[in-house]
Symmetry: C2
């Protein structure tokens, strides 16, 4: 049973690592340019502070996840890892939500604010961002399942007494 649990969390971490690394790489490589009325219109992820934040968070969580995968889980650090896993989920949620909000404006625009959609002009850029966002959402989902599974096990009545 313990062995099964360990394999399950290991696989979830591997999947989350694959998703965050993909999200980072795909977002970093998202660029496109188009010519409108003799003006070259370029788009890349670093044009938006939100997409830059997304890349930083996905890279940080990738690094953290890799360290946890390489370190033995037998150490005494497992309590701090539970807290750090929740922090990682919060960071992934934050970066994914912010990037989704900006991507939505990029795709649909906002007529009230006079912000025009840009995906018609730089569709290659938009496709890359969409791909990175899907990977980011998957990474967050893997972390939600991981956290739920770990917390469920920690809070199992067999292992814990009510703290207050």
């Amino acid at each position: 049973m313990t062995q099964t649990r360990r394999i399950f969390t290991f696989v979830l971490r591997l999947l989350a690592l694959a998703a965050t690394v993909s999200a980072t790489i795909v977002m970093v490589n998202s660029h496109d340019s188009t010519r409108v009325l003799n003006l070259t219109f370029k788009a890349k992820f670093s044009d938006s502070p939100t997409f830059t934040y997304f890349v930083i968070v996905e890279a940080i969580v990738s690094g953290y996840n890799l360290i946890i995968l390489l370190l033995s889980s037998k150490g005494s650090l497992w309590r701090i890892v539970i807290i750090l896993d929740v922090v990682a989920a919060l960071l992934l949620t934050s970066s994914m939500s912010a990037a989704l909000a900006i991507a939505q404006v990029g795709k649909k625009g906002n007529t009230h604010a006079g912000w025009l959609p840009i995906c018609g002009q730089v569709s290659k850029f938009c496709n890359h961002v969409s791909g990175a966002l899907v990977a980011g959402i998957l990474a967050a989902i893997f972390y939600y399942v991981l956290n739920l599974f770990i917390l469920y096990n920690v809070l199992n009545p067999l292992f814990v007494a009510k703290p207050n």
Copy 2:
């Protein structure tokens, strides 16, 4: 000691409730209009799907928090409440991050995408949104402290054995 802990979590929940209720009310009441070249330019929170999402999340977390405050913490539901508190923190993080990303574009614009800042035209609206965002950030911080405190206590070696 147990009594002190209970008072601390109660106060944190009260503060989080005050913050989420304030965020909801201030965001719902954010509207402004201006006239540019004989055109009336109106701004309200529901013009942006992100701000609407912010209001929905802050209202849901307010309701959840109120129920937990009214319910006795002596019941057998405390394990599910620990998980729900993490979910509430994730929801608050998501809505706050998305709203911050849009507010940043509203304030600074994005020259690369051709999105102009709107805060010069509808400053009253922007001030309201800023106020709601500050309340939303505070609500998230109160929930982070609450979760950290509860998880720290649950993971205390006195109460828990290593689950795997």
